[in-house]
Subunit: 406 residues, 2 copies
């Protein structure tokens, strides 16, 4: 909308120049945040809303991790960390951890620590994606991936997971059909946010084989890989990839170690691109605070009990949600997920998730994330984070059941 | 260098696929880190080297700032900060601080907090620079700027500062001549790293007027603006820019608040691009740790004494260096800088800074940064960081004077 002076409505008429927003990159101009801002405003008005819309648990990071960061502050660790790709203690801990977890040696130099898993993804695309090329990604998918592809100058090509027999499944034929000579990478999350779909070892092998054949990078977001109930980790691309395969694995301390607010993650990459990651790290962020890395190091080294607690919390949360919501005829539940921190369901009576979310907010005072954030196939769905205190979760589910039955 | 199999030398011959490094973006392949790694290896062999090569002071961040971060850990602030562009307490403190310092209202929404000043620069270029366009920058300049322009897909065009009457000066005609229809931005640091050149109010006005006329963004790296001896701040582009001018100012807690290892900085931008910065923040880093922001907030609110200490340390360091080095006939000293944390000098007898640095390392056991990092006009120069304990600095200077006189 523009005023009769040609300036955007609401912009002062006496300003001689157009606003700066008209001089930013065309690519950036329409980029928007995906969030529940409008719903959150309404939630504050309502007052007693139980917020299950964010991808975040409710546990404060345990004291042993916070204490390590505090001790680093006390020790005066307030200087640059010379190895910008990660303090030696942390990258060594990551190497030992990943080697143990995935049953395959993963050298220290293959992990680059980043200010959050999000930046690990951004560096992954910056490493491989030339503007104008395309990236295939599986949908439903957390919206940051599509937005990052766009921000990186790439064309995002969404390939829906197939929904068959109540279950989300990889449609490898659709992935292959979406790729062409300009495809740089295939990106997915496993266990997936929001569906909980988890790539099987066979799915990963098929993706890797196809990537090898075509020279396409496989970018696997494995931020939820420890929140999985059928083993110590969900199947990981790192279990089957050779050191120099075109594979990038994204991870983060946020979910499994209750460290969302620490902003620290890591990227696993081929050894041969370590110099490029060193340079990109220098010119993008110049490293991570030593104090934050001190916390991350003890999280990796001493955090297995915490990870088990987080995993049980999610598993129990899924069970509680399925037990409660299966009582409601209007609720459509996919097969129960085996990992992740979400329940992703729809209402038979309401195909528009924006309306359904609003209704549940108003009637049950529970905050859910609308499926349209996650792409076209997710439009009818609602995402509920279950990594919460079971008592609070039961209370939210009681309210939802009461509201949805009425 | 390639072996006879076509694989890079040293790469195992039995690997069936080419290494991943051959499949990264061409733009990235030759990107390298600029550092003193080789010199640092030699320094460790020597053993008693005084390291003045990094742009970092030697003061641990004061306790009142560390205590604020520790208190935030104790208070359980380990969750996402809802406003990813900065916690309200910090952006409010930045608004009050900048409004006071620059004598012009700078709204809270115009500052975006970033994981370090480096990322503030990266976001600035990501906001405005389309691949294939060019960016003019003043030289000598810290190497991250030219490397970031390249990494961002732009063509960097170095414009030398003029060296006249022993002084570095802006050559506005050269800046104008370097710009064309594809120029997106003019980037500089003031006080400059490494020269200490400080843009006058008139320099900034000329740059801003030219930017307005041509629709070119002015990107002013003001990370050293408090380390200036002729007033509370070096002249800042924020003193003269209107809210919607095409102006981006980079800043950081690293230098003036002794917080290099905290990795927190900020970007001041036109109000109208706040939504773009919000989106870019979400997709590039998803915000800064609450604990780190708690430290940054008290640094801004209660850090003026610290800033004064840092400034005096730099000023005294410059004086000590000039007093000592002016005794050495071989040393060429420009006019004494009025800001920054560096002394930037050359040797009449040695135009190659790599050789001069190595000689000073071997003979004086003092580590300096070679000028070739900073562009062609800086090739003969040596950069010495003087933001150090004066006793240590005097010791380094004594050694240098002895070595350079012999």
């Amino acid at each position: 909308m523009t005023s009769d002076t040609g300036a955007p409505a609401g912009y002062p008429r006496n300003l001689p120049r157009p606003p700066a927003a008209e001089r930013v990159r065309p690519l950036i101009r329409d980029l928007s945040t995906e969030n529940i801002a409008e719903l959150a405003v309404r939630a504050r008005e309502i007052g007693d809303v139980i917020p299950l819309w964010y991808g975040e648990g409710d546990l404060v990071t345990p004291a042993f991790i916070r204490d390590a960061a505090k001790a680093a502050f006390d020790a005066g660790q307030t200087f640059y960390v010379p190895d910008m790709r990660g303090a030696p203690a942390l990258t060594q801990a990551l190497a030992a951890y990943q080697t143990r977890l995935h049953g395959r040696p993963i050298a220290r130099e293959r992990s680059t620590v980043t200010p959050g898993g999000m930046q690990a993804l951004a560096l992954a695309l910056q490493l491989v994606l030339d503007p104008g090329r395309n990236v295939v990604y599986l949908e439903p998918q957390w919206p940051n991936i599509a937005n990052l592809i766009h921000l990186s100058g790439g064309e995002g090509r969404a390939v829906p997971l197939a929904f068959r027999d109540g279950d989300w499944r990889l449609d490898m034929d659709a992935v292959i059909a979406a790729c062409d000579a300009r495809t740089t990478a295939i990106v997915f999350s496993t266990p997936a946010n929001p569906t909980g779909w988890t790539a099987s070892r066979e799915d990963l092998a098929a993706l890797l084989a196809f990537g090898r054949e075509r020279g396409i990078w496989i970018v696997s977001d494995e931020v939820y890989n420890r929140l999985y109930w059928d083993g110590p980790s969900a199947p990981s691309i790192l279990e089957i990839a050779e050191d120099e395969d075109l594979v990038l694995s994204i991870n983060s301390f946020s979910k499994a170690w209750a460290m969302t607010g620490w902003r620290v993650g890591w990227l696993v990459h081929p050894l041969s691109v370590a110099p490029q990651l060193a340079a990109m790290t220098q010119y993008m962020n110049s490293g991570i605070a030593a104090t934050i890395q001190a916390g991350a190091t003890v999280a990796i080294e001493q955090g297995e009990e915490l990870v088990a607690t987080m995993r049980e919390r999610c598993r129990e949360g899924v069970d509680l949600a399925y037990a409660a919501l299966s009582q409601v005829p209007d609720v459509r539940l996919p097969t129960k997920p085996r990992g992740g921190m979400y329940v992703f369901f729809s209402l038979a009576s309401e195909p528009d998730s924006a309306i359904a979310c609003r209704r549940i907010l108003e009637e049950a005072h529970v905050g859910l994330a609308p499926g349209w954030f996650f792409g076209a196939p997710a439009r009818p769905y609602l995402r509920m984070c279950v990594a919460r205190d079971p008592v609070q979760l039961e209370s939210a589910l009681d309210r939802m059941v009461a509201a949805l039955r009425s």
